[in-house]
């Protein structure tokens, strides 16, 4: 008796009891659908975090003044009271570290901006002309200021979309004058719209001026709190991180026992941490869904056991007319595998549909994972074999004489 025939026998037996087969499959259907939907939600979250990090730039490094722990006193990085990072340091990084391609300081000055009879309070950020490239943030209209503007500390400014909307509603801000701390600045460009960051802050509520201008004309000090550094590639970020650290320690004349008075952070680390978090979440969700799959499997075993008892006579007949124990065992095993695989297939469809529908109803991003689908198929087959084996063995071990006598 070949496998194909056994499969056909198993199928016929299932078709004879459609309602029961459908209800038994329900457990597996729900389990598989849950696994796929949950993993999709997890992967979706992971992908959106990843996308946000990539939008910042994965070969990005932060260099900030101060360290998390100086002499036992913990201070936040980029503390305005810490004057350990200078423009010279940044120039040295740019000049001497080969794995670094671009550097921009990031000096912040909060101020009231006045344009005609309108005004707006925002942070004016002093950066270098390489800022748009480092942050992967292009200019929408006009242009960014130039190298020459930085050298001459020109009073030029590039504004974010929120400013453009609020100070120049319906007008073109390019070429207009805007007053910052009573100094007139000429608007040379408007940044592209960036939207909200993951914390919900408006990233377009900004203005950029040459850092030299901000330091000399607005802040009146030449220290830098934070700088963005771009490594030549994502792989080079770790090299850049250690080379910058070495360079700055040397420049700050720190002895081996002294801790860093600056902090270099790597965006790849941040990305990996975020990735790790969402991976943990995905695994957690999948585990919870996996429990329902397990419960579904136990349901199959339950029904198969009932089925073996109920069909004792059928088993007796099959054995009497010449079915070997192995044929009976295979039949019941295949019935249970067919149940779980069919349930798995329906579950996959349901799970994928759920994954596609969830973003529309709940607003959560989802990403259907091929791994979850393949995993579910394998798992449901395993469930069928595992939970079908005991009932099948029970069926195969029946004595035909007893089985035929069974009422």
């Amino acid at each position: 008796m070949n496998l194909l025939m056994i499969i056909r026998v198993a199928f016929r037996a299932l078709v004879r009891n459609k309602m029961r087969a459908a209800l038994t499959m329900l457990g597996i259907i729900i389990g598989v659908a849950a696994v796929i939907a949950m993993v999709s939600i997890g992967q979706g979250a992971s992908a959106s975090v990843q996308a946000q990090i990539e939008s910042i730039g994965t070969n990005l490094l932060f260099v900030s003044a101060g360290a998390q722990n100086v002499g036992g006193v913990r201070s936040g990085t980029g503390d305005t009271g810490t004057n350990t990072l200078t423009v010279d340091d940044l120039d040295a990084i740019k000049r001497e570290v080969p794995s670094v391609s671009m550097v921009t300081p990031n000096v912040n000055a909060r101020s009231q901006l006045v344009a005609g009879n309108m005004n707006w309070n925002t942070g004016v950020t002093g950066v270098s002309e390489q800022y748009p490239e480092i942050r992967k943030w292009p200019v929408a209209t006009g242009s960014f200021f130039t190298d020459a503007d930085v050298r001459t500390a020109a009073r030029v400014i590039v504004i974010g979309q929120t400013l453009a909307d609020n100070l120049y509603p319906g007008a073109d801000p390019i070429g207009q004058d805007i007053r910052v701390m009573n100094l007139p600045f000429r608007i040379v460009g408007v940044m592209a719209r960036k939207g909200q960051d993951p914390q919900g802050r408006d990233q377009d509520d900004v203005a950029f001026a040459p850092y030299t201008t901000v330091q000399k004309k607005i802040l009146g000090r030449d220290r830098v709190q934070i700088a963005f550094v771009s490594a030549i590639s994502q792989d080079a970020t770790y090299t850049a991180q250690s080379q910058i650290t070495d360079l700055l320690r040397q420049r700050h004349k720190l002895t081996a026992s002294e801790p860093n008075d600056f902090t270099v952070r790597n965006m790849t680390d941040v990305a990996e941490a975020a990735n790790e978090t969402s991976k943990t979440m995905t695994i957690l969700l999948a585990c919870i869904a996996g429990v329902s799959l397990l419960v579904g499997g136990i349901g199959i075993m339950n029904i198969m056991l009932v089925s073996v008892t109920e069909r004792t006579r059928e088993i007796g007949i099959r054995m009497a007319i010449g079915a070997r124990s192995s044929a009976v065992r295979s039949q019941f095993l295949i019935e249970s595998i067919v149940l779980s695989l069919t349930g798995g297939a329906i579950g996959i469809i349901l799970g994928v549909v759920l994954s596609l529908v969830i973003p529309a109803f709940l607003g959560w991003p989802t990403l259907v994972s091929m791994m979850a689908i393949i995993g579910s198929v394998l798992f449901s087959a395993a469930v069928g074999i595992f939970f079908g084996y005991y009932p099948a063995r029970k069926a195969a071990s029946l004595d035909p004489i007893e089985a035929l006598r069974y009422e």
Binding site: N2, E314, I317, R318, M319, G322, A323, R324, I401
Partner: protein
């Protein structure tokens, strides 16, 4: 394994009662000092105490006895459903007394056809599929299975009922499906366990007519277990069991002819539309 079941009734019909057993015919069943002991708790039950019995090809033997006489145990051993505790059983030239479970399953599949009191058909399964079942376990290909099942159903007068499920058939028709199933693998032996126990008297005669016809026309060896003496008279030899031993073994003196009796029986409106076959 291509056997045709084309039955041409009334072509050659000697008076069944005068049929003489050919002594040289090959033995199909040889039971030699069969003992069967069951252990029930601490008590040993001796179901069979040295049964020796030879049944030759083409014989139609009825086994009788009260309940507890050992006839069911003998039946189970002959049918290879059970093994003797002691003694040897040679079925169709093969010693099956010490065979494993799987070997006996194969023997049952190839050499024995079963007909039971309770019909024992698979429910929610067509007559055709029920008849195909033994061939499935023998590994016969689908086309041959189909062909032979149709022929077997025709041989028991159930042409046109192939797609009916057991619950759409009368008791007599169900038993005839069971007979068709028993003969479809062309067995050396058909074993019928109280085949008329659930049937009314006319249907019983009809089933016995089929058995007599198969026995006469195809020379199929038949062993019939019954407790009804008048049913036993359709056989040509009656073996009576008592207390785990054979009490008597004699030929039937006035053998009944089911076909003749059917002609004289009033037709009761039941499932007789196939008698005119």
């Amino acid at each position: 394994m291509s056997t045709t079941f084309a039955v041409e009734p009334q072509e050659f019909q000697p008076a069944v009662g005068f049929r003489t057993q050919v002594p040289e015919a090959r033995p199909v069943i040889e039971l030699d000092h069969i003992h069967k002991t069951y252990t029930m708790g601490d008590v040993e039950v001796h179901a069979l105490r040295g049964v020796s019995l030879t049944i030759r090809e083409g014989e139609f033997v009825a086994i009788m006895g009260a309940s507890g006489s050992g006839k069911s145990t003998t039946m189970n051993i002959i049918g290879c459903l059970d093994r003797p505790t002691r003694g040897t059983y040679i079925l169709d030239g093969e010693d099956v007394s010490q065979m494993s479970k799987d070997e006996r399953a194969d023997i049952r599949c190839q050499k024995i056809g079963f007909v039971f009191q309770g019909f024992n058909l698979l429910s929610r399964t067509s007559a055709l599929e029920n008849v195909e079942l033994p061939m499935l376990y023998l590994g016969v290909d689908a086309a041959t299975r189909h062909q032979r099942a149709i022929e077997a159903l025709a041989a028991v007068g159930l042409s046109g009922r192939e797609q009916n499920h057991p619950n759409q058939l009368s008791g007599g028709q169900q038993q005839r499906v069971a007979v068709a199933r028993s003969l479809v693998n062309n067995p050396a032996l058909i074993l019928a366990d109280e085949p008329t126990g659930n049937l009314d008297s006319r249907t019983s005669v009809e089933v016995m007519e089929i058995f007599q016809r198969l026995n006469r026309e195809r020379g199929i060896t038949l062993v019939l277990v019954t407790h009804e003496p008048d049913i036993a008279e359709y056989a040509d030899r009656v073996v009576v069991f008592k207390d785990g031993k054979i009490k008597s073994d004699r030929p039937v003196e006035h053998r009944r002819n089911a076909a003749e009796e059917l002609k004289n029986l009033p037709i009761i409106e039941d499932d007789d539309d196939e008698d005119e076959e």
